[in-house]
């Protein structure tokens, strides 16, 4: 084999291996949706178990074509703000770049990974609106969140030319803000307009606990979500085949998959233990705490000392429980799975922790180093990118009568009233 032949061989193998890596990350991320589906089915009452699952399936199914139609283009075209940069058609669905090309082995698998990130935002939102949102309204809002809102935030805070990155050194490699904050606060905006399930609150303002019909589904579902997040976080690292050589983080700085392994697991454990302590052993909060622990470490997964990641996760697992109680008591919301707290609040903590404990890390090129101020700016932006469209669009839908399942249908059960079936033959 000549030197030239060896070079071609190595380049080809590197590109094929890169494709395969993102292919399997994408496959693993589907476990997130299996998990959310099982979690929400278990957390629903028996009369709404099937419709909860249908809602999850449709979020997945609608996100894929809409992310192909405009989601990927938004990521590429809007890093500077609300005005698109001229890509000469690149990224639009009728451009050759959005189909199989022999010269481009990256776009398809990167698009797929981003599409599954988008599906994850929709699944986060799905749990918060359980048992009283119209399925068609949910699908529309999920598309707004997954194929417009979060990817606009990603274009600003993840894209190497994003204005938050180039102007403020915003650092969020595992998407604590870009995915979790946006999804959590979008959900908060929607549930303010959607209102609680029938029977959640009494006339005097006191709340009733509405129990799901089978917590075993929820336990397994939550663990499946954790499994799937290893695909999600693996997909947040860049392996550009033969172009760069080894790993870089999404901002082009050196990184390792080992750093993600150390800190994802340590954050997970810290979150579970923190929530175990805070909830006095409630298994629902322990597993939600594990997720919150991962999100608490997500912004700096590439740089944390694992011991610090454990502490950050512990704090995340602790704070989500009083935060969830506070949101319910002050705003009288009904968030059956604690999605706003687990994703929105833990996401805030993750973004701010990066500024508190990891300021001064250099990125690549002209990107400024990480800073507390930059993380605060990013935190505010991610909150607004989630909350404003969630609240504004759902408010218009509420005025149109296209948001909430009528009380009579809720009481009859959505499964039998709308779908004409039951979860089991019991």
């Amino acid at each position: 084999m000549t030197l030239e032949e060896l070079e071609v061989f190595v380049t080809t193998q590197a590109n094929v291996a890169m494709e395969a890596y993102y292919w399997w990350c994408t496959a693993l991320m589907i476990a997130i949706h299996v998990g959310f589906l099982m979690y929400e089915v278990g957390a629903s009452r028996y009369k709404n178990a099937v419709s909860s699952a249908v809602k999850n399936l449709l979020a997945f199914a609608f996100m894929i074509p809409t992310f192909w139609l405009f989601g990927w283009y938004i990521y590429l075209a809007f890093p500077m703000g609300f005005s698109p940069i001229d890509l000469e058609g690149y990224g639009t669905p009728w451009n050759v770049s959005m189909g199989p090309m022999l010269s481009d082995q990256a776009t398809g698998v990167f698009w797929a990974a981003f599409t599954l990130f988008a599906c994850t935002t929709a699944s986060v939102f799905s749990g918060a609106v359980l048992e009283r949102i119209r399925i068609s309204a949910f699908v529309f809002l999920a598309v707004i969140l997954g194929s417009v809102a979060w990817i606009l935030g990603a274009s600003w805070g993840w894209h190497p030319d994003g204005w938050l990155v180039t102007g403020f050194g915003y650092h969020d490699v595992g998407a604590a803000g870009v995915v979790h904050m946006i999804a959590g606060w979008f959900a908060f905006g929607v549930i303010l307009n959607l209102g609680p399930r029938v029977g959640k609150y009494n006339a005097d303002g006191s709340a009733n606990e509405i129990e799901g019909h089978d917590l075993r589904f929820s336990f397994i579902g939550l663990l499946m979500i954790i499994v799937g997040f290893f695909g999600f976080l693996g997909g947040c690292l860049i392996w550009a085949g033969a172009d760069f050589g080894g790993w870089v983080n999404i901002y082009g700085a050196p990184a390792t998959l080992s750093s993600f392994a150390f800190n994802t697991l340590m954050g997970l454990a810290g979150g579970m233990i923190g929530a175990f302590w805070m909830s006095k052993g409630n298994p629902f909060w322990m597993m939600s705490g594990g997720l919150a622990g991962i999100f608490s470490c997500a912004s700096g997964l590439d740089v944390w000392y694992p011991g610090l990641a454990f502490v950050l996760g512990f704090v995340g697992g602790v704070i989500i429980i009083p935060a969830n109680n506070w949101l319910h008591s002050v705003f009288k919301i009904d968030d059956p799975v604690g999605a706003v707290s687990v994703h929105g609040v833990a996401g805030i903590w993750g973004v701010i922790a990066m500024g508190l404990f990891a300021s001064g890390y250099p990125a690549s090129g002209d990107i400024p180093p990480t800073s507390f101020g930059g993380q605060i700016v990013g935190c505010i932006v991610m909150f607004l990118v989630g909350f404003v469209p969630g609240y504004g669009i759902s408010f218009v839908m509420k005025m149109m009568g296209w948001l909430r399942v009528p009380d009579a249908v809720q009481q009859a059960g959505i499964d039998s009233a709308e779908l004409g079936l039951r979860a089991t033959a019991q």
Binding site: P65, T66, L69, V96, G99, L102, F140, P406, V409
Partner: protein, 57 residues
């Protein structure tokens, strides 16, 4: 084989090799059809929900 660029019925010079890659108009047609199907299914689902609400009192 209607690839872009490159001659038909050959892999020589081909880059984009998917169906209709050489016809932007055809790609726009399939794109619009995708959008129409998504909107149609959502609208039909919303209509079914409204009908159900009227029947369930």
């Amino acid at each position: 084989m209607n690839s872009w660029p490159g001659p038909e019925n050959s892999w020589e010079g081909v880059d984009a090799y998917f169906t209709s890659a050489n016809s932007e108009g055809t790609l726009i047609f399939w794109t619009l059809l995708c959008i129409a199907l998504l909107v149609l299914v959502t609208a039909l689902a919303a209509r079914h929900e409204s009908d159900t609400a009227k029947k369930t009192k």
